[in-house]
Symmetry: C2
DNA sequence: CAGTTGAGTTAGATTTTCTAATCTGCGCGC
DNA sequence: GCGCGCAGATTAGAAAATCTAACTCAACTG
């Protein structure tokens, strides 16, 4: 009958996440891209958060965003808190979700005249520790469906570990490509082996 | 075509919330109580989180819980991050969600022989700044449906601002009651007025 | 002035999350 | 030693949160 339990008040966490991304980009559109949803979803989440808090966080202009004083006051702490959570979770999470590194390769790179992809996928040069999929979509990293992605060009990929490689036997039409992985996987054996199969640091 | 956007990886936030509460209480049941859900929901959320992270966070015994090494490593940082978020949001949130203080009064106190409740609710002594509901349920505070709750007995109400009052014209059968509010509302005008109407510091 | 861009809004679909009921294993008291 | 109670697991189905898709609006662009 006794022992009333309460804890600190917490606004909707997904709304906070949307706020944090939108505040960082100062754009609902970019935030939506980062979160792999539509801008409308971000708009709704943030509107909901603002209703709960009772204060507006953004000043909407027909084109672009500004943080209100409240938003500006809140953003650094929220960003920081998410970063800490992310770091804590990464430190604990199993480094490799499966026994093999699940690698997505950009379709632009699969026009492969030298068969490097095929080698990676099928020959003894590509043992069990790498699984290849033909995809370009960074969302696969975010969702955890893939561990790494190989894409032409240098990036940037803020928040991820990305290495620009000189591909060993050039994938046409690109000589260089970025190998992008979760930061936590940058030192894992499967990643290092795969990297050396693909090329050398550029 | 360019401008790939990624951010830090983040496990399911609601799962983290459940983990944090369960880790603090070392009990799914108490965590569920704190979060105003059933223990089954907590169990599911945490199982999901463990699947995403790829590591177990709790060691389940038929009776009671233990944190695994991973859980123990993660808990302090996660708790800390939630506290920071909560503080940042509280600092920014409007102190009073509506113009009136929405007060819940324990049904145990409504057997009110002296009509103080009625006075509060209906007479000129209770102006527009207080709205009374007959309820006991702390979940109404957590959900934001109410701003304050008056309950017999001393608490404790960890994380909330609670004041033990000697009720002015004793509510039967209790002479003392706790006025429990969100910490952010402890200094607001409507709260102070309502408190003085109810009683004096005990 | 037409075209583009970014944000708001809505209804309906989808997915997530919760509940309620049942099951399991262990400790405790009688 | 043997029910009884307690805490957690599990499930199907219900409920709620969230997302999308389509459209609107306002301002900047050339």
């Amino acid at each position: 009958m006794d022992g009333i339990l309460v804890s600190y008040r917490l606004p909707p966490l997904n709304g906070l996440r949307a706020f944090e991304a939108a505040g960082r980009h100062l754009s609902f559109k970019l935030a939506a891209q980062e979160l792999s949803v539509t801008p409308g979803a971000v708009s709704q989440q943030i509107k909901h958060l603002e209703q709960i808090l009772g204060v507006p966080l953004f000043q909407r202009m027909p084109r672009g965003l500004t943080l209100t004083g409240h938003g500006e006051a809140m953003l650094p702490t929220i960003s920081d808190a998410f970063e800490r959570m992310s770091a804590a979770a990464d430190a604990v999470a199993r480094t490799l979700p499966t026994k093999a590194l699940r690698l997505g390769v950009s379709p632009n790179l699969t026009e492969d005249p030298h068969g490097l992809l095929a080698k990676l996928a099928n020959t003894e040069q590509s043992p069990d520790y790498v699984q290849i999929t033909s995809t370009d979509d960074v969302a696969n990293l975010l969702s955890g469906a893939l561990d790494a992605i190989l894409r032409p060009g240098p990036g940037p990929y803020p928040g991820m570990h990305a290495e620009l490689l000189n591909l060993h036997q050039a994938f046409s039409p690109h000589a260089q490509a970025s190998l992008v992985v979760w930061p936590g996987l940058a030192k894992c054996r499967e990643f290092l082996k795969t990297r050396s199969l693909l090329g050398s640091p550029g």
